[in-house]
């Protein structure tokens, strides 16, 4: 009976685990993003491949190097850097200079995440932090949109993509308008089927609503996403834009356009639901979604910019600590919601 002579492990109960794992969740999100990424490659060709590769590469490399600097084991394997990189890449214009993409990748991990202590500690969504800073740093490049399904997309890339590091990209003659800017500045409405299928100009991965929803459905089915957030966003945007559209059709487009255009789908399904940056309670998630929805509509309709999803989510991120603080589950055997006084 040698087995019984051994020292036994002492560990607090429970002695079994569900098998939920951080890295499993993360890689599932990556998986859910694959159809969208695939469509991006189909729609924008080599340019999309390069942008996504540089985005993911720079994020992963930064994560690895920062772990090294801090003297900690690398956390690349948990997949969160890959998600950040992929999401960040999907929000970029397809013709963005690659050096800018790389700069943003470094910013995403260094400023968006490592600064606050790494995974789980960051108050803002790192991918959006990077995108917002890039938008502020290179406003022209970030609002220049290469056309979708261009003829030579599998043989050549936009010249702007290959600008020398830290040099201004050559102005792109073939740039087009996104559905949102076409509406805002030219009052031109894009057809709904185009929006659904993603055959419009826009960021690398934001155009195809159907595939984004597919990815979201996969995650919801696997219980790796809180469906209340996108649902609340969609409901709020639809309701608010329906009302505004009824009152002032010249200013606010109808709900179907507001829902399907721009980054709303990608943002609502994949960014607003980022576990780290969203509330933990169900009611909190609903409020989170409503806040984002309201901000999106307000910025799009009344603001200077055609698109506001990114800012809406970042602002909502800043509100999350308060939602988590104010909204607590009602504890069994007590009356009413919230904390004890």
């Amino acid at each position: 009976m040698t087995a019984l002579g051994k020292t036994l492990e002492i560990r607090s109960s429970p002695h079994i685990l569900s098998g939920n794992r951080v890295d499993t969740i993360m890689w599932n999100v990556v998986l859910a993003l694959l159809p969208v990424s695939g469509f991006a490659v189909y729609a924008f060709g080599i340019a999309a491949v390069l942008v996504l590769a540089v985005a993911v590469g720079s994020c992963v490399l930064t994560e690895h190097l920062l772990c090294r600097v801090a003297g900690k084991p690398t956390t690349v394997a948990d997949g969160s850097a890959v998600i950040t990189g992929l999401l960040y890449g999907l929000t970029l214009p397809p013709g963005l200079a690659l050096w800018m993409v790389a700069v943003g990748g470094v910013v995403a991990i260094a400023v968006g995440k490592a600064l606050f202590g790494g995974l789980g500690q960051n108050p803002f969504n790192p991918a959006l932090v990077a995108r917002a800073i890039l938008q502020a740093a290179f406003p022209v490049a970030m609002t220049t949109w290469a056309p979708i399904l261009a003829a030579g997309r599998f043989t050549s890339v936009p010249a702007s993509l290959l600008a020398w590091p830290f040099s201004a990209p050559a102005p792109d003659a073939t740039s087009t308008a996104t559905p949102l800017s076409a509406w805002k500045f030219d009052h031109r409405l894009t057809e709904t089927p185009d929006l659904l299928l993603g055959t419009t100009a826009g960021s690398v991965g934001e155009t195809c609503a159907v595939l984004i929803l597919l990815g979201g459905a996969w995650l919801i089915a696997r219980r790796m996403m809180n469906w209340r957030i996108p649902a609340a966003i969609f409901a709020t945007v639809a309701a608010l834009s329906a009302v505004l559209h009824a009152f002032d059709p010249a200013r606010c487009a109808g709900p179907e356009f507001m829902l399907l255009s721009g980054g709303l789908m990608l943002g609502a399904v994949f960014m607003a639901t980022d576990m780290v940056g969203s509330p933990m309670t169900h009611l909190g998630c609903v409020i989170h979604g409503v806040v984002i929805g309201v901000l999106v509509v307000v910025i799009r309709v009344y603001g200077g910019m055609p698109e506001g999803v990114m800012y809406a989510i970042l602002l909502a991120n800043a509100l999350v600590p308060h939602l988590d603080r104010l909204i607590q589950p009602r504890v069994y055997g007590t009356k009413g919601r919230g904390r004890k006084p």
Partner: protein, 227 residues
Amino acid sequence: MSGTPHLEAPTTPVWPMYRTLVSVGLVCGLLIVSAYELTRPIIQRNKIAARQAAVLQVLPGAHASRTFRVDEAGAVTPVPPESEGEGLVFAGFDAQRRLVGLAIEAQGMGYQDVVRVLYGYSFEQQAVIGFRVLESRDTPGLGDRVETDPAFLRNFECLDVSLGADGKALAHPVEFVKQGQKVSPWQVDGITGATITSRAVALMIARSAATWIPRVAARRAEFRPEE
């Protein structure tokens, strides 16, 4: 604010406090007034020079300028060059003391804050012939392209603001279109990448021209150079 005022508080008599405050106040007042009087003429001169430079810039060919005030009814009165307030227009004259046109200020909400611009109006061509940004806090590198973008500035070399048949309104209101889509002389071509600010500028000129041009167009003769 100081750490331990109460300890010696009862012992200080009131008189030294008044004495100190009054004397310091006097010295301060003296300093301020003398600085003000010393710098006022220089500042005044600088302001007038800056204004003049702007006027001459938006009115190509002008050599001198004179400030007028135009009231709502259209009455024109010459005012000193340092005047401030509503209703100012600046007439520009060439070397032969002939009227080149009027410089008019317009303002409106830009991307970040209020943008103020000055534009030149030529009676002869019935057009806007020059344009310049006076004040803008819009995004550097993006919003400030309305000051530097040659294609955009070309819009204002000859922007049609001719009056309609009744002389009470513009024949065609100034319109904003996206870059490269300008077809009529009264349209302003925007800047891709700086659509918001360029549109704001176009709109503020459109609004200003619609009020001001009909008001001053018929009173060309009243804008006379200084004697």
